[in-house]
Symmetry: C2
Subunit: 225 residues, 2 copies
């Protein structure tokens, strides 16, 4: 980060620099073997330091992982908010879909750290939930814009939309959102995660399919039905 607090002492600046480098190496390690293989000693060695040196910067392994997860959530929320190109609803949703895939492909293991199998023996920190609802809020904005009116209905998913009218606490910041919009947000999330996570896990390799086209097809399906 080039921007530095003006009241920061040189020592503190150095601290932040080293912390950042530790995290950077941690991400490299995660990119290679996943989060469960993350090792403080290995990071230290990679930085030319002794193992115990890192305990000046992080209380323990869990604190480091917690920070990495929070940074990942933060990064995704920022990417989402940055794609706030307003415009017609459907186009905006497609924009979010594109941003999501780009963010995931940039670092697949980071994506799985957020949405994948939970790291064994690790409990997610509290404050990621705040960022989660930030992400959901950006998504809901686009979904509200993409569902202009209680459109013509095929009646199939009725049961679920009734359920949504009764269970909308997770969309507390959007009292204006129709059940259709809520359902759209959930479909966006689950469908794109489905296509994306199977692609990242390599389940399409050998099938000769273009994952990008499959992904786009699923994304467009959201505003077509």
């Amino acid at each position: 980060m080039p921007t530095t607090d003006s009241t920061t002492t040189p020592r503190e600046r150095y601290r932040q620099q080293v912390r950042a480098e530790v995290k950077e190496k941690a991400w490299q390690q995660i990119a290679g073997s996943g989060a469960s293989a993350l090792s403080l000693n290995a990071i230290a060695k990679q930085m030319g330091l002794s193992g115990p040196a890192l305990y000046r910067y992080f209380a323990n392994r869990d604190e480091l992982i917690t920070e990495l997860i929070r940074d990942a959530y933060r990064s995704l929320a920022d990417a989402f908010a940055g794609a706030a190109d307003p415009g017609p609803g459907p186009a905006r949703l497609l924009g979010l879909a594109r941003v999501l895939r780009a963010w995931a492909l940039a670092d697949p293991h980071r994506y799985f750290l957020v949405y994948g199998t939970p790291v064994p023996g690790y409990e997610a920190p509290q404050d990621t939930t705040a960022i989660t609802s930030e992400i959901m809020s950006t998504l809901l904005d686009a979904c509200v814009a993409a569902t202009p009116r209680p459109a013509a209905h095929d009646g199939r998913a009725r049961a679920f939309e009734e359920h949504l009218t009764d269970h909308r606490d997770w969309a507390a910041g959007h009292p204006d959102a129709s059940p259709e919009a809520l359902g759209l947000a959930l479909s966006f999330w689950t469908r794109l995660h489905g296509a994306l996570s199977l692609e990242l896990a390599g389940h399409f390799t050998g099938m000769g399919l273009d994952p990008a086209l499959l992904y786009t097809a699923e994304a467009t399906s959201l505003t077509a039905g």
Copy 2:
């Protein structure tokens, strides 16, 4: 397994029994902490054996994991084939969807062993691909039955269906399948995996949603569009 080969010697029968018990304990361990935490020594201790004793039954840790993965694939393929309740296409697809969720909920970590983040440093064995296409074949059968004719089209997913007509090697056993049927199979897979994996990873907890309803809504969306 109660069924035993009649030509089997008692010693061989005992071997198979112990192998089965090792796998059983392995699954219990995986159910607790995921596959990357699987430990031969821990299994041995749990069975009242010494660590090295297991090397009579499995060449090494990788061979054990390979067998577990293959058994998981086998189990899913059998569950799918068992749901071959013929009948109208859409109902058959819904049946498969139900079976998939039940199978996943019975052992979430087993599901992730098949469709989740790949185990770090582990390469999937060759012969699972055969079972994979078995599963895909059952699914394609239902999809062909569910897409009677090149129905009225909204034209949105056109690009992808053109792509599918050119890239259908993965459906080699189903030359009769229309691009719509192929796309339906892929949507079945990705959408249901999306809803299911987010549920299993606990991403809906705290939202007050009923994952079963969400899942059913996604399943019915397949044959509604």
